[in-house]
């Protein structure tokens, strides 16, 4: 579904690689968590995957389409929920959804089939005709999620998706992630909430200083009597403490 091969990203004029030769293979039907301390390279990796940032070296392939050679085809397979909310806040919710659906070639019948379900799930039906700038933080997040799912993407990528969501919406989002994976599609999300990642994800990758330092199966980890939190801190906490000293 998603293949990252030796991905390297170096920012202009920087002497270090923000992402340093990482490789990952995500399978269909799994929820994959992406963890790392602040500044580890999570957002840079995600922005490379979705095509916001160009890659310095390596390649990213989504459903067999290379982001380097056929970016438009690759992007069509992705639904992305960014960590920053929509910037077109003078548009109403429905105008923004229609705009995003236009961009992903979603037919009117598909929109009519999906939107009521998604809007209802997030309790947004009554808010769709209001300008986005009147929305709360959580409502903006919900609109981003609805937009990302309008074209039923093969790969659903979420960057810190639970921030600002109320408990009900948070629950709905987690169950939708599972539903999406159960349809044979893939969910890739980054979060700092380790308890949620542990509950929701099938596998987890941990990135630190731009390198993947571990890829673990959550069930196996649990069967060994480890928690994700202790495992994560063992891998990253010791380094942080020593560098602070």
């Amino acid at each position: 579904m998603l293949t990252i091969s030796n991905l390297t990203k170096k920012y202009a004029n920087s002497t270090v690689n923000a992402v340093d030769g990482i490789s990952l293979e995500l399978k269909s039907g799994e929820i994959f968590g992406f963890l790392g301390p602040n500044g580890a390279g999570k957002s840079t990796t995600i922005k490379c995957i979705v095509g916001i940032l160009s890659v310095t070296d390596g390649d990213i392939s989504i459903c067999g389409e290379s982001m380097r050679t056929s970016p438009l085809l690759a992007k069509k397979h992705i639904g992305y929920v960014p960590d920053q909310h929509t910037v077109y806040d003078k548009l109403t919710g429905i105008e923004y959804i229609n705009f995003m659906a236009d961009m992903y070639d979603v037919s009117v019948s598909e929109r009519e089939a999906r939107l009521p379900y998604l809007a209802d799930k997030f309790n947004m039906t009554d808010a769709l005709n209001r300008p986005i700038k009147t929305y709360s933080h959580g409502m903006k997040q919900k609109i981003s999620v609805i937009c990302a799912l309008m074209h039923d993407p093969d790969l659903w990528i979420l960057d810190e998706p639970l921030t600002g969501l109320d408990p009900q919406a948070s629950f709905e989002l987690k169950s939708m992630m599972r539903e999406h994976a159960d349809k044979g599609k893939t969910v890739f999300f980054s979060s700092h909430v380790l308890e949620v990642v542990e509950k929701v994800c099938d596998r987890v990758a941990i990135i630190d200083h731009g390198k993947i330092i571990a890829v673990v199966d959550v069930k196996e980890l649990s069967s060994e009597g480890n928690t994700l939190e202790s495992y994560f801190l063992d891998l990253t906490g010791e380094k942080s403490t020593s560098s602070e000293v």
């Binding site: 004029n13 095509g51 940032l53 970016p71 992007k75 910037v87 105008e95 236009d102």
Partner: protein, 551 residues
């Protein structure tokens, strides 16, 4: 095509959908803007009409029309470069657009169309009265007036394409100096200033030399040169003033060239569009090995330092706020040369008819005309009139800081006053360098500019706090169509026009040179002092309540 239209519709709605219906105050402001523009427009039309009569008599009506079209384009170019950079590259929607499965050429064209629409309004305001006046002057036929509308539509196209091409080297400079953001800002302002200078020098060379309505050899040869180089304007001029099949053929050929240029530019520029946006998105290098230094200062200084650093590290906003520092003196330097020649020519012509103007009088009149431009720049100090708007959503940080609103206001005022004082000093030095005025007059001009700037800064900053525009995605959305920010500019235009009017009135009613100078400066300082008292004496009054009311 459908993606282009959908994207364009979204960008258009997001930029132009009004938050609320126009209030009475806003309608009054628009009326004030029109009133302020009328004298300028009147002067331009008067000159164009006289030029049209000469061009017709000299048999160069087509050449002169092509020159008007070219100058209109050059003026659009002056305004387009910051817009292209701000809207196309330094925009907050860059990330969102980059991830969409939409061809780069579609993104590029949609963004370019948005800049085009913004420039089209300016093009229409300038070109419609100019072309109609010229048509009347040369006694043009019906087809001329029919083709005025397409000309207005075409005028911004070529300059926009040039601006886009020029934007790329500027973006590379930004990328190259990414780690030194302040240096980037300085280079950005200087780069744009350089382009301004080249265009202004060309325009000045074309209109400055032989005085009133004579057409000099320099202008004539420049006109002929442009007539041959700007081939599409030549074709349009022939179409507008031609007859029969000549109209259709030349118009179609000109249109074809414009379309071909758009297609070629789109193909070339869109290939680099994503990398252009990336320069802005990729942020700053995180590889600095410098040790973080802890420093402490008082609240006032800390607020000013924060404001200065925020501003100079954002080239788009820095340009809008600090460009006056460079552009006002530049404009004075460039204009003074042509203007002095023009006034000396008039002095000689008047002398032939027995009307003698002394050098001192000529000097004061030249200074008053230069003051007009210098005073106009006093009113466009966005460091003051956009002081709160440019903070965007971070404005709300000011509301929860344990710092009084009046201190925040005073810190912003102090920063914008420093910008104004430096600009006034540079302007006065430039006037002194050109030798059009005595050293004493230059000092008086400096003092007058400082007083007016401080007054207009006070007014601008209060108006901005009253209605800050905090929701924007880019510098264009923040500053363009912001009526409240434009008020000080309109007032400065009105005061600016007062300067040459005063000089002419005193020349007419007073004979003594010294008396004329004394009266001119006395009135100028009285007006400046009144404005300073009105706008600065209570500048922080009720500022806490004003800040509280911003939600």
């Amino acid at each position: 095509m459908s993606k282009y239209l959908s994207l364009l519709k979204t960008l258009f709605v997001n930029t132009y959908r009004p938050s609320k219906k126009l209030s009475k105050g806003q309608i009054a402001l628009i009326a004030l803007a029109v009133v302020c523009l009328l004298p300028t427009l009147g002067l331009v039309c008067y000159s164009i009409y006289n030029y049209a009569l000469i061009a017709k008599a000299g048999g160069i009506a087509r050449e002169f029309l092509a020159t008007i079209l070219t100058l209109g384009g050059a003026s659009v170019l002056l305004l387009a470069i910051p817009s292209v950079l701000g809207y196309m590259f330094f925009s907050k929607d860059a990330e969102l657009l980059s991830m969409l499965p939409v061809p780069k050429s579609t993104l590029f064209l949609a963004k370019l169309t948005m800049v085009y629409l913004a420039e089209l309004i300016l093009s229409a305001l300038a070109m419609i009265p100019t072309l109609i006046t010229y048509g009347v002057g040369v006694g043009a036929g019906v087809w001329y007036y029919v083709l005025v509308l397409p000309m207005v539509l075409f005028t911004p196209v070529f300059p926009l394409l040039i601006a886009t091409v020029l934007a790329y080297p500027l973006m590379w400079v930004v990328a190259f100096f990414k780690r030194h953001s302040s240096l980037t800002t300085i280079l950005y302002i200087l780069g744009v200033a350089l382009i301004f200078t080249v265009i202004l020098l060309i325009e000045s060379a074309m209109v400055g030399s032989e005085g009133e309505f004579g057409i000099s050899m320099g202008l004539l040869s420049m006109m002929m040169g442009l007539y041959e180089v700007c081939i599409f304007n030549k074709l349009f001029a022939v179409a507008m003033l031609g007859a029969g099949l000549e109209i259709l053929l030349n118009f179609l050929l000109g249109t074809l060239i414009i379309v071909a240029m758009v297609v070629i530019s789109t193909l070339v520029c869109s290939a680099f569009f994503h990398s252009g946006m990336s320069y802005n998105m990729e942020g700053y290098s995180q590889s600095s090995t410098r040790t973080a230094k802890i420093v402490s200062t008082d609240k006032m200084n800390s607020l000013i330092i924060k404001d200065v650093k925020q501003l100079i590290r954002d080239p788009g906003f820095a340009f809008q706020s600090l460009a006056g520092l460079v552009l006002a003196p530049l404009l004075i330097l460039i204009m003074s040369g042509g203007m002095r020649e023009s006034i000396v020519y008039t002095q000689l012509e008047m002398a032939k008819e027995g009307i003698i103007f002394s050098d001192a009088m000529v000097g004061l009149f030249t200074l008053s005309v230069l003051s007009l431009y210098a005073i106009m720049f006093c009113g466009i100090n966005y460091a003051a009139s956009g002081a709160f708007t440019r903070e965007g959503q971070t404005f709300y940080i000011s509301k929860y800081l344990p710092v009084s609103a009046s201190l925040i206001m005073r810190a912003k005022l102090r920063f914008s006053d420093i910008v104004s004082i430096i600009s006034a000093l540079l302007t006065a030095v430039c006037v002194a360098l050109t030798g059009v005025a005595s050293p004493i007059s230059c000092v008086l001009l400096f003092l007058q500019l400082v007083m007016l700037s401080l007054a207009l800064n006070g007014m601008g900053i209060r108006r901005d706090l009253k209605r800050p525009k905090l929701e924007w995605a880019n510098v264009n959305e923040a500053f363009k169509n912001n009526y409240y920010m434009a008020v000080p500019m309109f007032i400065s235009m009105l005061i600016g026009f007062l300067a040459p009017v005063l000089a002419i009135v005193f020349f007419s009613i007073l004979g003594d040179e010294l008396l004329v100078e004394i009266c001119y400066w006395a009135i100028s300082f009285v007006v400046s002092a009144i404005l300073l008292t009105i706008f600065r004496s209570n500048v922080t009054k009720d500022v806490d309540k004003m800040m509280e009311s911003v939600e």
